[in-house]
Symmetry: C2
Subunit: 97 residues, 2 copies
Amino acid sequence: MAQKLDDSTRDEHLAPLMRAGWEMVEGRDAIKKTFVFGDFTEAFAFMTGTALWAEKWDHHPEWSNVYKTVEVTLTTHDVGGLSELDIKLASKMDNLA
Amino acid sequence: MAQKLDDSTRDEHLAPLMRAGWEMVEGRDAIKKTFVFGDFTEAFAFMTGTALWAEKWDHHPEWSNVYKTVEVTLTTHDVGGLSELDIKLASKMDNLA
């Protein structure tokens, strides 16, 4: 079961993601990032790679795609905010992208 | 090159899609539909199938996914509105879903 990030480790977890282009979503305990690829095929390949990990970890992004752009929001509905699963999935997406 | 649907054939093309749950997007010459599946795997399988046709036809949806739900908007940017490509892709998505 995922646990909400606690105050003591939160910044430590989030800082590297913020440096990599993730931002807090206004009004939600969630992070977002916009990935831009060369074309649709590259964007969708990224989504496919992400989907396999998301399903494996049973933790899924909220995301949208328009041609070569993928906008991602991550949060953990079960805990009402960010958990380590979001940190893990965000890092994985950065590696895949 | 895609051509904008002309007034004479527009209703004929759109009527079957409206019956299948597609709606006009307010303020845009575009259609939208929300597809709901059993789980994420089914939703993403639908997206993958659609992606292959979209790339083959070089005509891509605007879409978002949250777990088992996929929201789709179709329009043809090159012509500034709906074209036969949107009709074709909408029908294909209904078949895949």
